[in-house]
């Protein structure tokens, strides 16, 4: 156990702990979005895309500045995705020394960075797709944690049907549900895309170490840009016998053909080479012989090509068609910015989805409902869940302010949309039987669903006195609990749309 490994494990556990802790009730700032405070890729590109500096993320800049001194330490010591990748590789790949390493293609991540930066300049954000922290958090929320939760609770539930195991299994499950597992298993539709991407990143480790970090990661590329002349770096003394063991053990293939030379923009300071060197010739410090090499092979054509790709990509978003019917049913979280700004600032980290799944459980991923530019942005599906009246967890955890953190009293008054009856399906209106489950569940102290007791003439049954519900549009906030609880099968008889929604603009009263 080296210091570096300890650091990786510590930060990974911190990530997992904060993830588990990002649920109702959130007390204090200990939520998983804290990790974005040290993510300069998100800080820079989200602010650029939104044309608004995200002050909460200002501390990410000094972290980037540290790379000038410490090199690409973030990737080797801090990044939780990096730690996950390293741990996976340990089990997926037999520990054999790789043959002569090839460093072709490692320039690619720099073109990814250029592509993302250019698109962001045109106010289109693709960077969320490639940001490692956002990617890991998204995968945890939509895929890893649900699988773990579902698996554990299914296992214990099944075990409890064996008579002798009944009590211990159920007691254990109850205890887990109180402290570590979600109360109801969160299963997300549309998580397949995210699951596939995450699994690919892990599975490729079997064939190529730190594939993501070497070829794709734009955050790594960003750190790499600042690390070329780092003060802390790999140093090789005269004792080197050029056996090449270090080259073969380097997971980043950062050591040149001449083992004395290091490519500092690729070295993540894992220090494995120092461990394996039979002559003890390698050390990491501020003094000593060091010669550098580079993979930053970016001829002009590559730069131009990736810039063009960014431009074309951004442009393509502008002409994409939005299905207005479906978009009007994609309700945004309370406190969300205006749609364009929301899509620019949302980094699809799903911290809001994670928090909401422990409360009302309405926020879910979208695919193309809000247009391709809104791909994977979260929106409320009121048939699955609703927005809890006393809750504003989503605004609390959003790292970029795409969802503004509303004051609780304010949140209870603001409209996410409006509910509307479909009288052809609503039980009292359509068949004269009593229901008003919607009215029962409306959380407003002065309910937004009222009813009138009227005698109506029911076809086939004659006159009947029935309680007929209606929406008070001046009171409704569009929380959606009525739609969730409506007992009509299939599409509910009361639907929430984005009608009259209020978005945060930072204006006089904020809206």
């Amino acid at each position: 156990m080296t210091l570096r490994r300890a650091s990786q494990l510590l930060l990974l556990f911190l990530f997992l702990f904060l993830f588990l802790y990002s649920k109702y009730p959130i007390k204090g700032p200990y939520t998983v979005d804290l990790f974005f405070k040290i993510d300069p890729l998100v800080a820079l590109l989200a602010s650029l895309a939104a044309r608004d500096w995200i002050s909460d993320l200002t501390w990410a800049l000094p972290v980037l500045g540290l790379a000038i001194i410490l090199g690409r330490f973030f990737c080797g010591w801090i990044c939780p995705l990096g730690a996950t990748i390293d741990i996976s590789r340990r089990y997926l790949r037999k520990r054999k020394l790789s043959p002569k390493p090839s460093r072709r293609g490692m320039w690619f991540k720099y073109t990814v960075l250029v592509f993302l930066a250019v698109a962001a300049m045109f106010s289109v954000g693709f960077f969320w797709f490639f940001d490692p922290i956002s990617l890991l958090l998204r995968s945890m929320t939509l895929f890893i944690y649900p699988i773990f939760a579902f698996g554990t609770s299914s296992l214990l539930d099944t075990a409890s049907y064996i008579p002798v195991l009944e009590d211990p299994a159920l007691d254990l499950l109850d205890w887990l549900k109180t402290w570590a597992l979600p109360v109801h298993d969160p299963l997300f539709l549309k998580s397949l895309l995210v699951a596939l991407i995450f699994l690919s990143i892990i599975i490729v480790e079997r064939y190529s170490s730190r594939f993501w970090c070497r070829f794709v990661c734009p955050l790594g590329a960003l750190f790499g840009l600042f690390s070329g002349k780092s003060l802390l770096r790999r140093r090789v003394s005269e004792d080197c016998n050029e056996c090449g063991k270090c080259q073969r053990s380097c997971r980043m293939m950062a050591i040149a053909a001449d083992p004395v030379k290091t490519c500092n923009s690729e070295c993540i300071l894992c220090m494995d080479c120092a461990e394996v060197c039979p002559e003890n010739a390698i050390s990491y410090g501020f003094r000593g012989r060091a010669e550098s090499d580079t993979v930053l092979d970016l001829p002009r054509r590559r730069l131009i090509f990736s810039s063009l790709a960014g431009l074309v990509g951004a442009g393509a978003m502008g002409v994409a068609v939005v299905d207005r019917a479906r978009a009007s049913r994609a309700i945004r979280p309370p406190g969300a910015l205006l749609e364009d700004e929301f899509i620019d600032k949302c980094i699809r980290c799903y911290a809001c989805v994670r928090a909401c799944s422990t409360s009302g459980d309405c926020l879910h991923p979208t695919l193309a409902e809000t247009g391709i530019e809104g791909l994977l942005t979260p929106a409320a599906s009121m048939r699955i869940g609703y927005c809890e009246y006393n809750c504003n967890l989503c605004g609390t955890v959003c790292p970029t302010g795409a969802i503004h953190e509303l004051d609780m009293e304010d949140k209870k008054k603001r409209r996410m949309g409006l509910a509307d009856f479909d009288r052809n399906r609503c039980i009292p209106w359509a068949s004269g039987d009593d229901c008003i489950v919607c009215e029962e569940h409306c959380p407003l102290p002065d309910k937004a669903i009222k009813f009138e007791s009227r005698e109506i003439n029911v076809v086939g049954k004659g006159p009947k006195l029935v309680k007929l519900p209606y929406v008070r549009r001046d009171l409704c906030t569009g929380c959606g609990i009525c739609e969730t609880k409506c007992p009509v099968k299939g599409r509910a008889a009361i639907l929430v749309t984005r009608d009259e929604e209020e978005r945060w603009t930072g204006g006089t009263d904020g809206f």
Partner: protein
């Protein structure tokens, strides 16, 4: 003499349950000769009111035997604080848990299938903490733990999923909270059983009088304690505004759930005659709604 008869009926009930094959919770028929007894105690000291109401039936030992696994079901349905009176008073819950243990219960499980998010409800109602303080096992309702149970006396519902913890318990004690309910008019003990059933409960609202009676023929509590300390008199069943809460400082207890609800309704100024579900339940023999035929024992403590 009453003691012997009670024991006989209880043993007969247990034998019947064994024959049928799953737990049918035995109902003590202590008061069936004179019309059902309902205790109504008013006191600003709520715990005193509770104890006094229970004492009208002897003690909790008449309902909970040594070694019993007790299922105590308060109303934890809504994400509301205790002063908003949408859920059962947590202080009363704590005290009843203690009473069950004092009577020799092996375990007391406290749970409810909530309407709002369960974590929020259990926490903000204060009931999870209060029950745990007295040593109860507080757990969330697990969606996979419902078992389809036949309803032999069902008019509309012939079977329905019922929570496994109910089926595993030796005794079921119901602790509803009295409040206004737009559809039902008043929500009390009869409606409390909704928290132990699975499936799409919204459909129960259609033809509610018969359906809720069907459910209650299977979910019969040994004892019911109706919390009328703070009552939501408008905008129920969850309210929100403190203006809708009226202090009644009353605890109502009994074995006949219909009688308790009828008395509870009258305390609120309502009448069973305006409540179709109560009339239907009474008509079908679930209990007695007519206040003239109920033996109401009142007490008001200083």
């Amino acid at each position: 003499m009453g003691l012997t008869r009670r024991r006989f009926i209880r043993t007969a009930g247990r034998l019947t349950a064994a024959v049928v094959g799953y737990h049918l919770l035995p109902v003590s028929s202590l008061a069936s000769e004179n019309g059902p007894l309902v205790g109504v105690v008013k006191s600003s000291n709520h715990l005193e009111a509770l104890r006094s109401a229970v004492e009208m039936f002897g003690s909790m030992k008449n309902f909970v035997s040594k070694g019993d696994r007790v299922l105590l079901k308060p109303n934890i349905s809504w994400d509301r604080r205790p002063e908003q009176a949408a859920n059962t008073n947590p202080d009363l819950v704590r005290e009843v848990v203690k009473m069950c243990f004092d009577a020799g219960a092996k375990s007391v499980k406290v749970l409810d299938r909530t309407c709002n998010n369960a974590t929020r409800c259990y926490d903000r109602s204060g009931i999870a903490d209060a029950a745990r303080e007295a040593g109860a096992d507080v757990s969330f309702v697990s969606e996979s733990r419902f078992k389809e149970v036949p309803i032999p006396e069902g008019k509309i519902l012939k079977s329905w999923p019922v929570y496994r913890e109910f089926l595993r318990a030796d005794k079921y004690i119901s602790m509803p909270v009295l409040k206004h309910h737009s559809m039902a008019v008043v929500s009390g003990g009869v409606k409390n059983s909704m928290g132990l059933i699975g499936g799409d409960r919204g459909t129960i609202h259609r033809d509610f009088p018969d359906k809720i009676t069907d459910i209650n023929t299977v979910l019969k509590p040994a004892f019911t304690i109706l919390d009328a300390t703070k009552v939501l008199i408008r905008n129920g069943p969850q309210g929100g505004s403190l203006d809708d809460v009226k202090i009644f400082d009353t605890v109502i207890a009994g074995i006949d759930v219909v009688a308790i609800d009828s008395v509870g309704a009258s305390v609120m100024g309502e009448s069973a005659t305006t409540m179709p579900y109560l009339l239907k339940a009474s008509e079908r023999g679930l209990g007695e709604h007519d206040l003239e035929k109920i033996k109401i024992q009142r007490a008001e403590l200083g």
